[in-house]
Symmetry: C2
Subunit: 348 residues, 2 copies
DNA sequence: CACGCTGTTGTGAGCGCTAACAATCAACCT
DNA sequence: AGGTTGATTGTTAGCGCTCACAACAGCGTG
């Protein structure tokens, strides 16, 4: 209301220049923190900018610099705790480095969706993409797509020549398994995630290695799909085995490949009248916020999702700005969180 | 390798025009589906585009059209199931409408963070913002910020004159409470969310209304902070009351304002030796994926987060494209999911 | 046959910005 | 004193696109 002609059109650099009595180039210099500007001039310009409420037009800037300063993120299963937390870390890091980040969530994992996502982002001129695509087939598709900008994978493994960041899944699995063996269990059963997932593979591998190193023959692997329901089903099977006591390998300890499935396992055991950890110890992976309040509180492996997000942005920006060339792969350390579900009980 | 001078610079519209033997304007017309282009010409151009792998430069386009076709999203607590699912819905809807969407996750809820977020997005020329800011103070701050583009709130209430989309929280709370009364409980206790949250208020209001309508005096409200731990604490208090049997209001049914807190309540009750639902029935809100596998499976209110996301984008785009002017507020219907945690047991 | 119409294509300007270069001036050195 | 340097500012030319308009065909009509 103070301004008679409001809402006409945002002020341009030329407007600021006129207001400050300098050339538009000087305004540009002030905005880009160029050193060779007299302090007094800088002041004038800053004041004029403030007075007019000027904002640099990012489209014009992008046009001439050929830099959009925009990053893309492609993620599957964004409603889950892990990916969602990684996204937060990613996004914060990108913002700090002066990039805009745009996310594309993929529902399932068809290669077509991936291609469309890359296309969508490319049409907006992103300078790079972080792909949170933990399935082998996705990473494969990504590598073959050969995008016109750098792509960094999260949990994408290091077989293919894409740079990436992962939690050291195998180490995490080793930590849990060793913890269970140390607690006196003669063997450790495993409920794995779905086959195509790199995280499943690594966790299973870590578990298997520890057992084999200890001269223990790994029992048959049960497989779920990360959901509590699939864990429940696996749990029912385990409960049956635990009660039968006939099997070659007694069930006294289970390493479940994620916390959600562990929740299902716990329920199935409880329903089967089996006490945890008294009769069967259970451990998970991820440390979702609920894990501490499971019945009983769940021993699990914590992933520093925020760190993963931050480091993948770091890696991507290094590639974009030409500081990195190789397909480097960073590993983030996991942390074992010990809780009641694997606590050695009084019974022998 | 096939092309001697690759990677120099992406092809421009002029390149395509030359390749197709037309003017750049004709290329532009083909790209924008302008009707007045001869079919044969269109074909030529399309082929040339394909041959060169041409992509329209979005920055140049934005510069001249003054439309960035970019939307911003500001969200708090993006690692939680609800906000994360809403984001997915949002983002998908925006993409379908041809917008790029960029998300800013806020850690806590300081007004400063909000202002910075708006600023960050504004400096990229977003045409509108969806704010998933369920705290009253946030919405207040948003309204006062007076952004230079339309802002649509999600779960932001309808007191202030911002357009928005919400789940009908109050209805959801009424549904649960009525369900519990219908199951024969003489009263229903309530563990509410934090004070500043609009969702807490609405859920508490719905609960209170039903009780009062039934001539029941609502018991004292316990308050948590949405976390399982806070639910656990509230649950301990409730367990104490349930066992004491001295209080004016016996504890036989509890409506907890979200599923995570309900998990904590369940654990505390179990530890207090109280059977659910035998002695105390418990219901939650949200229907997170884990809820079905709680001990026992949790009766709760399902929110269609994806629909909320979709509708808020619809509303925002309506405002941007001038189809809506008023601060309309849309409500999405909740759905009661009945599970074992409130199942009437055999005991009287 | 001149006229106006419609459909199709081309031309020129300019969106708001940065990069490259030119111009100016004071300070400094020999 | 003359020339050289460096700091500060201005001028000009696009970045790749869309918009407004001009140009030109082909057609039917009075």
């Amino acid at each position: 209301m103070a301004h008679p002609a409001e809402d006409v059109r945002p002020p341009t650099m030329a407007d600021v220049a006129r207001e400050a009595g300098v050339s538009h180039q000087t305004v540009s210099r002030v905005l880009s923190d160029h050193p060779n500007v007299r302090a007094a001039t800088r002041e004038q310009v800053t004041l004029a900018i403030e007075r007019l409420g000027y904002r640099r037009n990012s489209a014009a800037r992008a046009l001439v610099t050929r830099r959009t300063r925009t990053l893309g993120v492609i993620a599957v299963n964004t409603a889950l705790y892990g990916p969602a937390s990684t996204l937060t870390g990613l996004e914060e890091a990108a913002r700090e480095q002066g990039y805009l980040v745009s996310t594309v969530s993929l529902r399932t994992g068809e290669g077509q969706g991936l291609k469309d996502a890359i296309d969508h982002l490319a049409s907006w001129g992103v300078e790079g993409v972080v792909a949170i695509t933990p399935q082998r087939s996705h990473v494969q598709a990504l590598a073959e797509l050969d995008a016109p900008f750098p792509v960094v994978t999260v949990e994408g493994g290091h077989q293919l020549d894409l740079p990436g960041v992962s939690l050291d899944q195998e180490l995490g699995a080793r930590m849990v398994t060793e913890h269970l063996l140390a607690a006196g269990h003669g063997n450790v059963w495993h409920v794995a995630g779905p086959d195509d997932w790199l995280e499943s593979e690594a966790r299973t591998a870590g578990w298997r290695t520890v057992l084999e190193e200890s001269g223990i023959r790994p029992p048959r692997v049960l497989t779920g799909d990360w959901s509590p329901l699939s864990g429940y089903r696996a749990g029912q099977e385990l409960a049956g085995l635990a009660l039968a006591r006939r099997g070659a390998t007694p069930v006294t300890a289970v390493f479940v490949a994620n916390d959600q499935m562990a929740l299902g396992v716990l329920r199935a055991l409880r329903e089967g009248g089996i006490r945890t950890p008294g009769q069967v110890a259970v451990a998970g992976f991820d440390d979702i916020p609920e894990a501490e309040f499971f019945p009983p509180p769940l021993t699990t492996v914590r992933q520093d999702f925020a760190a993963i997000g931050r480091r993948s942005i770091g890696l991507l920006v290094d590639h974009i700005e030409g500081r990195a060339r190789k397909a480097e792969h960073l590993l983030v350390e996991p942390q074992l969180i010990m809780r009641a579900s694997t606590r050695p009980s009084n019974e022998s």
